[in-house]
C-alpha cells in the first residue's frame, strides 16, 4: 500500500543528503571539538561552518547562534535564561494562549517560582493583536514571547509589529520559529526579535538538533551548566553529527525555498478548496491567507478526530488531530479552544501539513478516502442524527 505522509509539522524525514553529510561524524571523524589535535579541530571547523549557515538563513551574526538539542530546549533556554537573568528588573512575562507546550509549561513553572505570566487571547483566526501586547506590558515586564507561526492551525503572527512594540518599551522579545525556519523567509532584524528558537527536524534535518539565536547584548544566563562549550552559553559536548545535519538541512532549504513555498501553497489551496466544496459541515481552522504554506486544519462536525486518524492510517494516510482522545488530559487542543471552538468541534479537528513528498495525485486520493470515512462516522454519530 502506498504511504502518504501529511504530518510534516510533527516531523520530516531526514534528507538523504543531510544524512550523508552527517555520517562521517559518528565513527570516522569523531573528535571532540574542544580537543586540540587535528580530528578535534576538524569537528570544530564543521560546527562553525554550520553556525554560519544558520546565521545566514535568519540574517544573524555568526556568534549569535547557540546550538541546542532542539526546539524545546531553545524555548526553555530563552524563557528561563531571561527570567533568571532579569529577576531584579522584574517578574512579568507576556506570551499568548496558543503557544507550544514548550513555552506554556516553562511559563507555568516560572509562575510557581514567583513570576507573573500574561497569556494573551487571540482572535478567531488565532492572531495576537500587537495592541494587546502593548497594553499587557507593565514596568515589571522582562520578556515577551510570541510564536512566529502556530504549529496546529498554521496562523502566522504579526511578529515584526509586536517586535516594534517590544523595541519601543525596551523589552526582550523571543519568538518560537520552529514552524517557520527552513520554510518561509525569517530575518531577525526585520522581525525585531532578540531571541529565536529553531529545530532541524522540522525542515528535513535530524532530530535532536536545534539552535537559539541570541541577539548580541541580550541579558540571558545559560540553561545548561558545565564545560565552556558554545562560548559558555550552553555546556555539553557538541552534537557534531546533529549540528552538521542542521547546517546541511538549512543550506538545502535555502536553495529552493521560494519555489517549494509556492508549490506547497498551491497544493494546500487545492486540498482546502476540495474539502470545503466536497464535504458538508466542515470548518477551516486558522487564518484564510496569513498561514503557513503547508498547513490545512479542519474541523469535521459530529466526528471525533482520533477515529479519523485511525481510519486514514488504515488507508496509508498520516495526519494529526487536536482531539483530546489522543492526549492524556482528555482536554482538546488549547489552540482550538483559544480560537473559540466549542469542545465537540475541537474534538473533530484534523491537521494536514504538507511537504516535499506530497503531490496533486495524493491530494485527490486523500480527499476521496476522507469523504468516505467522514460519511461512515457521521452515519454512526448520535450528534449527526439530531440535525
Amino acid at each position: 500500500m502506498k504511504y502518504i505522509y501529511m504530518d510534516h509539522a510533527a516531523t520530516t524525514p531526514t534528507n538523504p543528503d543531510v544524512l550523508k553529510a552527517m555520517l562521517p561524524f559518528f565513527s570516522e571523524k569523531y573528535g571532540n571539538p574542544s580537543s586540540l589535535y587535528s580530528i578535534g579541530q576538524e569537528s570544530r571547523t564543521v560546527i562553525e561552518e554550520a553556525r554560519g549557515k544558520v546565521a545566514k538563513f535568519i540574517g544573524a551574526k555568526h556568534d549569535e547562534i547557540v546550538f541546542t538539542s532542539g526546539g524545546t530546549e531553545s524555548n526553555n533556554f530563552a524563557l528561563m535564561g531571561v527570567a533568571w537573568a532579569n529577576q531584579k528588573k522584574g517578574n512579568h512575562i507576556v506570551t499568548s494562549s496558543i503557544e507550544h507546550h514548550a513555552i506554556i509549561n516553562p511559563c507555568k513553572f516560572l509562575e510557581k517560582r514567583g513570576f507573573k505570566v500574561t497569556y494573551l487571547p487571540v482572535d478567531k483566526y488565532g492572531i495576537v493583536d500587537p495592541d494587546d501586547v502593548k497594553k499587557a506590558i507593565t514596568d515589571k515586564t522582562i520578556l515577551i514571547s510570541i510564536m512566529h507561526a502556530n504549529n496546529e492551525i498554521g496562523t502566522i503572527e504579526p511578529i515584526a509589529e509586536i517586535g516594534k512594540v517590544a523595541r519601543e518599551k525596551e523589552i526582550i522579545f523571543h519568538t518560537d520559529a520552529v514552524q517557520t525556519v527552513g520554510h518561509i523567509p525569517v530575518n531577525v532584524d526585520e522581525l525585531n526579535v532578540d531571541l529565536l528558537s529553531l529545530s532541524a527536524h522540522k525542515f528535513y534535518g535530524p532530530k535532536g538538533a536545534g539552535a537559539l539565536y541570541i541577539r548580541k547584548g541580550t541579558k540571558i544566563v545559560p540553561y545548561l551548566y558545565g564545560g565552556d562549550q558554545e562560548k559558555r552559553r550552553r555546556a555539553s559536548t557538541e552534537n557534531v553529527p546533529g549540528i552538521v545535519g542542521l547546517g546541511k538541512a538549512i543550506e538545502l532549504a535555502m536553495q529552493d525555498m521560494e519555489e517549494e513555498c509556492k508549490r506547497l501553497a498551491s497544493l494546500r489551496n487545492m486540498l482546502i478548496e476540495k474539502i470545503l466544496s466536497e464535504v458538508d459541515e466542515v470548518i477551516l481552522n486558522g487564518h484564510p491567507t496569513q498561514r503557513l504554506p503547508n498547513n490545512a486544519n479542519f474541523s469535521f462536525k459530529y466526528i471525533e478526530g482520533e477515529s479519523l486518524i485511525l481510519s486514514l492510517d488504515m488507508e496509508g494516510i498520516a495526519c494529526s488531530t487536536g482531539s483530546a482522545c489522543t492526549s492524556s488530559s482528555l482536554e482538546p487542543s488549547h489552540v482550538l479552544r483559544a480560537i473559540g471552538l466549542p469542545h465537540e468541534i475541537a474534538h473533530g479537528s484534523l491537521r494536514f501539513t504538507l511537504g516535499r513528498s506530497n503531490n496533486e495525485e495524493q491530494i485527490d486520493y486523500v480527499v476521496e478516502k476522507l469523504k468516505k470515512i467522514v460519511n461512515k462516522f457521521r452515519s454512526m454519530s448520535p450528534l449527526y442524527e439530531k440535525k
Binding site: L310, C325, P382
Partner: protein, 127 residues
C-alpha cells in the same frame, strides 16, 4: 503497530450493531460532547431477555470498539445477566484497553445501565 489490540481494531474497523432500533424497549445515553464521547444504546427485550441491541457513538477508536463489544455481549442475555456486565468485562473482552482509554469502557457500562433503567421505566408506564 497500533496503540490498540487486534480485537479493538477489529471492532473499530467493522463495528457490530450500528444503528437504531425502531420502537426500542430501552434507550440508554452516556457521555457528553465536552469529553468527546457520546453513546446511545438501544435494546429490544422479550421475556426479560435482550434479543437485539444497537448503538450510535461519537467518539474515539476505543469508544466505538467498546460500544460495538457491549452490544455483542448483551445480546441473548437476560436483563439480570446484562446488569452484571462491568466496564472491566467489556475491556477484557477486547483484550484490554490503554490505561487512558479505560474511561471509554465506563461509557459502555453506563449506556447499558441507562438503557435497562429506561426499559424498567417503560415497563412501569405500561402497567
Amino acid at each position: 503497530m497500533s496503540v490498540y489490540s487486534e480485537k479493538v481494531m477489529d471492532h473499530f474497523r467493522n463495528p457490530r450493531n450500528v444503528g437504531e432500533i425502531e420502537n426500542p424497549d430501552g434507550v440508554g445515553k452516556a457521555g457528553n460532547p465536552v469529553c468527546g464521547d457520546i453513546m446511545e444504546l438501544y435494546i429490544k427485550v422479550e421475556d426479560e431477555k435482550i434479543v437485539d441491541a444497537k448503538f450510535k457513538t461519537f467518539g474515539c477508536g476505543a469508544a466505538i470498539a467498546t460500544s460495538s463489544m457491549v452490544t455483542e455481549m448483551v445480546k441473548g442475555k437476560t436483563i439480570e445477566e446484562a446488569l452484571k456486565i462491568t466496564n472491566k468485562a467489556v475491556a477484557e473482552a477486547l483484550d484490554g484497553l490503554p490505561p487512558i482509554k479505560m474511561h471509554c469502557s465506563v461509557l459502555a457500562e453506563e449506556a447499558l445501565k441507562s438503557a435497562i433503567e429506561d426499559y424498567y421505566k417503560k415497563k412501569e408506564e405500561v402497567k
